[in-house]
């Protein structure tokens, strides 16, 4: 019983610290007066509209059938928000909040996790709101099967959290991570499956494409959106196992760096 009370108190303090940090982040991230918050929705919206417009111009010459390009652009872009922004934000999480480590309740773990939570909520909110808006104006059809969307999104968020945590933990101590990340994130974005379907690849390359966990996740999300308008390729256990290993690796990195960060 006593242990339970201690555990309960520890959770309460943990949540309090994460809440305080998220509120602190919201101030600088979304600002008091700038468009930060709105931008979370505007960015993927602009991307989706631009791709759809370009596609309809190209399509005019090629005569593709009613391919659901808006749905593919929206899912690809929003599914990449959490890991791209997540890792971008966690990289600076410790350095820009290092003074807050003066409060012994605030740990490096909290600094990283609070930023991840905020990005996950932001990306998911942006995805859900834009899906509703776009489907209500008829730009896309409402998702055909939400269970595929939810499963794909869940795996993608898990991947994003794991990757962001890893990058944030190592980046807190090793400056070189920042430089490596900028290059890596571009390559990763291109390879992530945000811009193509596995079906578009030559059959011989498809199994290699599925080595990239995000491709599996995005295929699932897209299949949930457009149903039989595409032929999906995915491997759910592989994606889940990848996430599990990534999470272990991220936590191990945290244990490695956690005593190496000291406020001035």
């Amino acid at each position: 019983m006593r242990e339970l009370v201690i555990l309960y108190r520890a959770f309460k303090v943990q949540w309090r610290v994460l809440y305080a940090l998220m509120m602190r982040e919201i101030i600088t991230r979304y600002g008091r007066e700038n468009l930060g918050f709105l931008w979370l929705f505007l960015e993927p919206a602009i991307f989706t509209l631009a791709v759809t417009t370009l596609w309809s111009i190209v399509k005019a010459g090629h005569g593709h059938a009613d391919f659901p390009i808006a749905a593919l652009a929206l899912t690809g872009y929003t599914a990449s928000l959490a890991w791209r922004y997540g890792a971008g934000r966690t990289l600076a999480a410790v350095q820009s909040n290092i003074a807050l480590l003066y409060h012994s309740r605030v740990t490096v773990f909290d600094l990283i996790v609070s930023r991840i939570m905020l990005e996950v909520v932001g990306a998911t909110g942006s995805f859900a709101v834009l899906t509703l808006i776009f489907s209500s104006v008829g730009l896309i059809d409402f998702p055909h099967d939400l269970s595929f969307v939810a499963l794909g999104w869940y795996l993608q968020i898990w991947f994003s959290a794991g990757l962001s945590f890893l990058v944030g933990a190592l980046g807190a101590v090793y400056e070189v991570v920042d430089r490596i990340w900028h290059v890596t994130s571009y390559i990763l974005f291109i390879l992530s499956g945000a811009f193509f379907l596995v079906e578009w690849l030559p059959p011989a390359y498809r199994e290699y494409a599925l080595l990239m966990p995000t491709i599996n996740n995005i295929e699932l999300i897209r299949y949930g959106f457009v149903g039989d308008a595409m032929i999906p390729h995915y491997d759910i256990p592989y994606s889940a196992m990848f996430n599990l290993y990534l999470s272990f690796f991220a936590l191990a990195s945290y244990l490695w760096i956690k005593n190496k960060v000291e406020p001035e």
């Binding site: 602190r24 909040n97 807050l100 012994s104 000291e262």
Partner: protein, 219 residues
């Protein structure tokens, strides 16, 4: 009985530009009972801030044990404890949330102690060092602790601020403990009842201020 105990604390920092390391704390032991007013004198670089950070639980010693049987404040210093791109007001809200107290009723009190006026709603990075010291002190004054850790910060304020510090800490909270580390004697002499010198990685206790001071100034 509330107390704080440090047992054989060691802390070493490696140099980044060459081989070797600097033994900052080399076997420091200390026991403080609730109500003790501790003054620690140390030259610049003697490891005062390192010691304070270890007591505050911000950094871990390489070796040794710390028993915290009373609540201990964060180190009240010029920087640290608050975030520069946030305003004083935002920092107040952050700290209140972390320590689980309401902030709504603390604004007036903090403004009263820190006297920041409109600057309270400006980012901390635009503050002068005196203003930072006042904010640091005012923020710590709204959260109750058994023991306050004070790293030099009182020394910079002007006379008016010093009087406020004295009022808040040394009179309103005279039952509490505090640990003041400084390279200057002023507050330690007047408001402490236990006197230490931190030198060459060791913490030495003296019977009275004069003995501590003569040892300290003969270094």
């Amino acid at each position: 009985m509330k107390y704080l105990e440090l047992i054989d604390i060691h802390k070493t920092y490696s140099f980044s530009h060459k081989r070797g390391h600097n033994k900052v704390l080399n076997g420091v032991s200390l026991k403080i009972n609730y109500g003790d007013k501790v003054g620690i004198l140390g030259l610049n670089g003697a490891g005062k801030s390192t010691l304070v950070k270890i007591i505050g639980g911000i950094i871990k010693p390489d070796r040794g044990e710390i028993i915290r049987n009373m609540s201990i404040s964060w180190p009240i210093a010029f920087s640290g404890g608050f975030q520069g791109s946030l305003t004083g007001f935002d920092n107040l809200r952050f700290i209140c949330r972390v320590y689980g107290v309401s902030w709504e009723d603390k604004v007036e009190r903090v403004q009263d102690i820190a006297e920041l006026g409109d600057y309270f709603y400006e980012p901390v990075k635009s503050y002068s060092s005196g203003m930072r010291a006042r904010l640091a002190f005012a923020l710590s004054a709204v959260i109750e602790f058994d023991c306050y850790l004070i790293d030099e910060v009182i020394a910079v304020g002007d006379q008016r601020f010093k009087e406020r510090c004295i009022g808040e800490l040394f009179y309103k909270r005279q039952d509490r403990s505090y640990i003041i580390v400084s390279h200057q004697p002023s507050y330690i002499k007047e408001y402490c009842n236990r006197f230490f010198v931190l030198s060459k990685g060791k913490l030495i206790e003296f019977e009275n201020f004069n003995d501590a001071w003569s040892y300290y100034s003969s270094q």
